[in-house]
Amino acid sequence: MSSISRYLCLLMFTPLFSLAQSKISGKVTDSKKHPLPGVNIALKGSYDGATTTADGSFSFTTSATGDQVLSATLTNYQPLELKINTGSGEQLNIVLKNAVNALRVVTISAGSFEASDDKKGTVLKPLDIVTTAGAGADIANAIKTLPGAQQTNDREGLFVRGGTGYETQTLIDGMLVRNPFYSSLPDIPGRGRFSPFLFKGTTFSSGGYSAQYGQGLSSALILESIDLPERSSSSVGVSVIGVNAGVDNLSKDKKTSYGIEADYTNLAPYFNIVKPKNSPNLGPEIIGTSANFRHKTSRTGMLKFYGYGNWTKMGFNSNSLEYPGYTESFKLRNNNVYTNLTYRENIGHDWHLYLGASFSSNTDNIDADTLLKNPAPSLIKVTSNLSQSRVMFYKNLGRFSVLRLGGEYQYVEEKSAFNQNKANYSDNYTAAFAEGDIYFTPSFVGRVGGRAEYSSVLAKMDFAPRVSLAYKLNNYSQFSVAYGDYYQKPEPQYIRFDRNLGYMKATHYIVSYQRVAADYTFRTELFYKKYKDLVKTVPYYNNNGDGYAQGVELFWRDRKTFKNVDYWISYSYLDTKRDYLNYPYRVQPDFAANHTASIVYKHYLPKITTNLGLTYSFASGRPYYNPNQPADKFMSDRTITYNAVGVSASYLTSIRKAFTIFVLSVSNALGNKQVFGYHYSTDGLRRDEVVPNVPRFIYLGMFMNFGIDRRQDVINNL
């Protein structure tokens, strides 16, 4: 500004200074009388005002006269306006109330661990799922480091709070995934079929989950796929067990994207060097492909397609337990296809629509030569096809409350053939649900809902009520309780032979407390679960089984205490007994350990851009069946305790223009002996330990990404 205009200004303002100036002063506090610094005090319509100092006080002069409006604004507080008279000269006492924003309201939390970028107060971030050493970027393996899940590494699935793997359901964008794990060989678990990077949100519910979902007695793993990628990219990877490549393309208008990925895994060369306990006689080979398409149909509408196909063949020879000196062969060929199409749109008047459709098909061809005296090898073919559709309407009520109404329909065909013998059935399953999240106050919420289900093969209906309450004690802590009934159809292998079976039932009671601050999280839960109508196979198929599970769980995560270090510790105590299948009475089942604990440690070394990860898992001994024990000692033997240390190191660098990462990871690095149970020969004279097929797995890989920096993903991949 030139000196002339400055002079002019001065001239123009001079008269003002001669006018009467009123002084306005006061103090701003919160509702608990704590002074609030930094508050913007403004006289509306003028520039006059001030910012409060450390003791909450303010003072300024104004030439405005008479009645005026004074405003007080501060981030995180509700703005306040009040009428004042400039001439009064009184000391103003202003009280600001906490702003009620979505980040501060209480959320339903009993029983669920949520990993999401979108929301605050989540215990985990999506990347945490894959940054866990020893988990091998497998969602279920990472979740096994959380309280509630068992270290059952001899069979696939999540065994939660005394429940079997069948009792956990996996859902992608609301649609059921029937075979989320690769088909497994006896005693060797299959890993998850899909990449964790496809999901922006993962919720692991260890109980008390919403009426939106059903048919899982214990637990639900709810996955939400990402919308549009940040930008286009392509990637290639090479490791000791296979290769993969993919492209992700985002259109110029950023409204449409598609991606395809393919991978090939062959473990045979690895097993030639590291001899496994059982030698492979087929593969092991996996071909995987996946495709996605996403389109933003409007400002609020989103259409998503996701599908994958996997082809697996693997087989192993093992030493026969029945006939020492002979080998038994087990070969498996699996084809699996999953597709999922969903659409979301805002349909006006605060109503939203969700539509979903999915088709999946899974076929296992098993060629088993396990009993030498059999006239011919057993050929088993099991196919299941599932078509499903889902519709949901939801409406926002007020600022935070939500009402959800919906229904789903599933048609499943279960085909099974054992040599020439066939046992097929199909089922029409229909369900309707209604649920409301009702905020009585911003710190007190209730979720009340119910679900009605009908299955044609069982010809039975059920109704499952669910209730959760959560109360926020302060900015960090909340207390919640949950209750719910859960029904599930018996496994296909039982319905196949007996259509008179009914639903199995579990009732959950959960009390939970959590404290989530920016740098640490503490959480504890008490639960009691009652099982009813479990399937029994002796003396005939019936629903007379029952049981219970109860326990306490702790979780502690800390990102603050040590620099560049993030760690969490979880501990679960489980007391469970059940009478099911061929059990003579209630006993602790062979998949349940009383004590389970995990420590996950992640350390970043910025100087050498390397991430180090370490995971230690512990489980007390599990029961196993010993035929040499008398009937009253059924399942009274225990295996040795389970100890596993997984380590991983990943180094980030650039090779020409590609961001590149090298990954080394070792499972069971210390080579601890792990025994999951024993198989006995029919006469009970010989037994065989159930142990991992390779005691220690060493993985080395290199991943390159062009276009987008996904190294952070890959670094966390192992």
Binding site: Y47, T51, T75, L127, E230, L652, I708, D709
Partner: protein
Amino acid sequence: MKRFFLAFLLTGTMATAAMAQSAQYTDAMTKQTSDLDSSSTFNPDALQQKGNTFERIADAEKSQWLPYYYAAYTQVMQALMLKDKSQVDPIADRSEANLDKAEALSPKNSEIACIRSLIATARLTVDPMTRGQKYGADAAAQLQQAKALNPENPRVYMLQGQSLLYTPEQFGGSKSQAKTTLELALAKFAAFKPESTIAPHWGEGYTRMMLQASQK
């Protein structure tokens, strides 16, 4: 002819807008923007105070984009300097709200895109591990946008240089590239003529500081 008429019309509007700026406004804004580059301004408390003052001017004027712009700028700088990262998002929200108002008054503005880039950077610092991908890309995209809107804006190159300087090399940062970009920024600063005394002109001193750092 049509183009001429349009240009005439535009000049007319601009002239009216300029006329509307009262002496009180110009004076207050001159005072508030004069020490934006001074070191005494660069602490969270002083920035908050300045942000508040700009908000008061903005809300009294309502039709000027500059006070909203400066309110957003000082708030995002405050957010970037905060030790308590849990406060970053709410302040970034407030800064973004001011910037939206500025943009409504002055669409397709290179300076506003620069602040949007800073907001993305501030949000990134809350949790670089998980937010890096989204907000890193967003910050870079906003700078591209700012450059497309006005390739002569020195603050575009200054912010690009800053990003190159402070990003680890493995993530695409480079001291030598930072140096070239910052030198380019200084050249652009030398050639840059702000539209008025109160139009955005901050950043030259900071660019020199970063240039020194890039030469170490």
